[in-house]
Amino acid sequence: MTLLLVGLGFCLLGVLTSALPRTYRVPVTASCAALGCALAFCAAMRVLVTGDTVSFHTTLILPLNGFAMTLDPLGALFIVATALVGFASCVYCIGYVRGELQSRSAMGLFVAFILSLLAVPAASSIATLMLFWELMAVSSMLLIVVEHRHRREARDAALWYGVMTQLGAASILLGLLLLTLRGGGQTFTEIKSHADALSPIVRSSAFMLVLLGFASKAGAVPLHVWLPKAHPEAPSPVSAMMSSSMVAMGVYGIIRVGDDLLHGGTVWWWIAVVALGTLSALYGALHATTSTDIKRLLAYSTIDILGLVLIGVGAAGALRDTGHPAVAQLALMAALLLVVAHAGFKGALFLGAGAVERATGTRDLDQLGGLIHRMPVTTTIFALSACSIMAVPTLSGFSSEWLLLQGLLHGFTDASTPTLIALLVGIVALALTGGLTAVAFVKALGIGFLGQARTLGAVNATEVAPTMQIAMALLGAVSIVLGLVPGLVVPLINRAAQSGLSRSTMSPLARGTGLVLAQLRGAIQPAFLFVGAAAVLVAVWLINRRLVHRSARRVDAWGCGRDVQTARMQYTATSFGEPLQRVFADVLRPQSDVELTHVAESRYYEQSLKYQNQVSDAVEQFGYRPVIDAVLRGGKAARRIQNGSIHRYLAFGFVALLVVLVVLA
């Protein structure tokens, strides 16, 4: 615990050092925060390895409530993931920072954001949790507007994010407080012992409220609208933190409250979680295929992956009280592994996107291209992480998705009908998102990094600073480790899952480097697969070499007989996603618009042709807009209450007096 507190202390120091003069500010602050992350990582790892739970309590912090922290394996796992990405982001920051993020407040907020992310999973009272939760919300909200001067979108995104996150926080607060009804204390230990005595209605409504709040943080559809706006607008190290750690906090909250504090509750809760997860997975994957902004694409893919995580969490909850606790644990482990894996690859992807933005000045895929020639390191790491998210075998995305499938599949044996349907829906979602994710990331890689450069910015791009490359490589390595030898981290994940489900059953997985189900049939050995694949690869390559001696000759590509092919003739990201956009037009509701201007003399010749295609978030447009408009209209109409007439104001009081008298008489 001391180690974690010292780590947090270093982060706090980082907040203070952000006041240093410009020259030292970024390196010193980022180093402090990186050191803090490293210490927190060690502290959390120790808890995960030994399985001990440590806690810390003081009444000297947080007036009237006291400050309570407990580090148990469940929280530790989330801290590990956060600390990894946090460390990488801090290292990245040293090379990245220029312009707005360099300012005092932005650096300070960045470190405060990391601090709160590291502390949320360790908080063990409602007050402490809400303290860090709100700190996380406010620091991230302000970080989104760091580039407010030039980007109107950033201002809007921050507002959306702020309102959604406040609604979520309110919902969480109310839900948690409901658990203290009738004299329960506010620390988690007290809630745990008190909650069983509460009526099922209170417990269910508390969970539903908490679920709403946490799910909105996890970007679950339809509470996701803030995410594709906010994540792209934040500076890239912040986006990386938001997308890989902050959304995970939503998952953490659901597990903590549902599984740990409330001991599982009823099946319906978890079916709701699976439903949210399914919606998010499909909706996120679908939107990722049509996005052309690289960070927006990544944001939607976050919604998708978090949806899968929620499916795992929901399956675990639904199965925990059936005859298959091992399967429940398996599903939860899958969800947790996916969280960690996601932290790795999504962190690397966002950092990579940041590198691209830094090098080319744009995030629009349609203005990139050919970066593989100019930014080989960034491209390699981005490609690796993209492969991981596409679940290419022997990478981390695959290991976790396989584990998730096992959790869902083996739950089918004698589950109740509602659970059965939930599991089935989960599998369908898992299957569907796989293909869609592949489309999205082939697009991101192929359009963004391969082919010819589409704009000057892409032509003039150069490889980014070494610290940024190191940071990306660090996170890229997570994908490889978790993918090749997932068995090594399984004991740790198992500890976290046990502490999440608050029971100490055997690990459902056997020891080893691969993932081998202990009692059930199913296994993958990614390391062996990799060796096999490498053997074939080398063999083919050798044969290829032997057969063909000459090196390749460069020729022009086939252009239907045209001589010159320009970069503008390439397929764009918009056109790449167009077939799927057409297929799912009912869900995506694209708005396209053709504008044809004719030459003045003749209607048969056109002067210019303009085609616009836009896919906006249908949920936002049809679910949120009307509500927002109604509220704004209501606010405008309500102005008439205070119309400035003193007669009216006096009448308010007179009527109130009369009402009081009549009521009391």
Partner: protein, 219 residues
């Protein structure tokens, strides 16, 4: 002073307070209204003095004299000056017209009887029997405050509220501690002074005291 005289005098004085309150609601001429107000102040002082005589309470007598001076003389005097500053001193179109106001006043008086019953039942006496009159004066004053457009009429309404409360104070508790009463009377006085200040300032700049036009500040 024997009991019958005491009761009669008290009833007469209290009655005068209510009558003058209703009169202010009825009349439109500012001068008349201010006169009524002066009359009310004097009646109020009379109530205090009668009670003081009945209970041999020196402090209350002092309060009565204070009320006589402030509410019977000074405040009406000041209001008269203000009214003179303002050339159009008729309450032309109140928000609720006069007959309706009177009907409403009757309702308010009934309400105040009902409300007061719960309070006076604690200590029934000759004095507390009159409490409804005080409450009614408060309500009528408040009503006037709400429905009259002109600044002077509004202040008169406020003073009616204040007088009503003072009457209740005398009848229920034979006056509050002197310092409080002092504060209360001073308050009314200051309100009128502030009003004068404002009317003068506004008058200088705008020559208008139709409050309806004072709607610059709104949402």
């Amino acid at each position: 002073m024997n009991a019958a005289t005491y009761t009669g005098a008290l009833e007469l004085a209290a009655g005068a307070v209510l009558v003058s309150a209703v009169m202010t609601l009825w009349r439109r001429q500012v001068r008349t209204i201010v006169t009524m107000l002066s009359l009310q102040g004097i009646s109020l002082a009379a109530v205090a003095l009668i009670l003081a005589a009945h209970e041999h309470d020196g402090a209350l007598a002092l309060t009565g004299l204070l009320v006589l001076i402030v509410k019977g003389v000074i405040v009406p005097g000041l209001l008269r000056r203000i009214a003179r500053l303002d050339p159009r001193s008729r309450e032309t179109t109140p928000l609720v017209n006069v007959p309706a106001s009177l009907v409403f006043a009757a309702v308010l008086i009934v309400l105040s009887y009902v409300v007061s019953a719960r309070v006076t039942s604690v200590a029934p006496s000759v004095a507390t029997r009159m409490v409804p009159i005080g409450v009614a004066t408060v309500l009528v004053g408040y009503f006037m405050l709400v429905t009259r457009r002109r600044a002077v009429s509004k202040v008169v309404g406020l003073i009616l509220v204040d007088n009503g409360i003072a009457l209740v104070t005398f009848l229920l508790t034979s006056g509050v501690p002197l310092i409080v009463e002092l504060g209360s009377s001073l308050d009314v006085l200051l309100v009128v002074v502030v009003l004068q200040f404002l009317v003068i300032n506004m008058g200088e700049q705008l020559r208008r005291s139709e409050l309806d036009q004072m709607k610059e500040l709104h949402d």
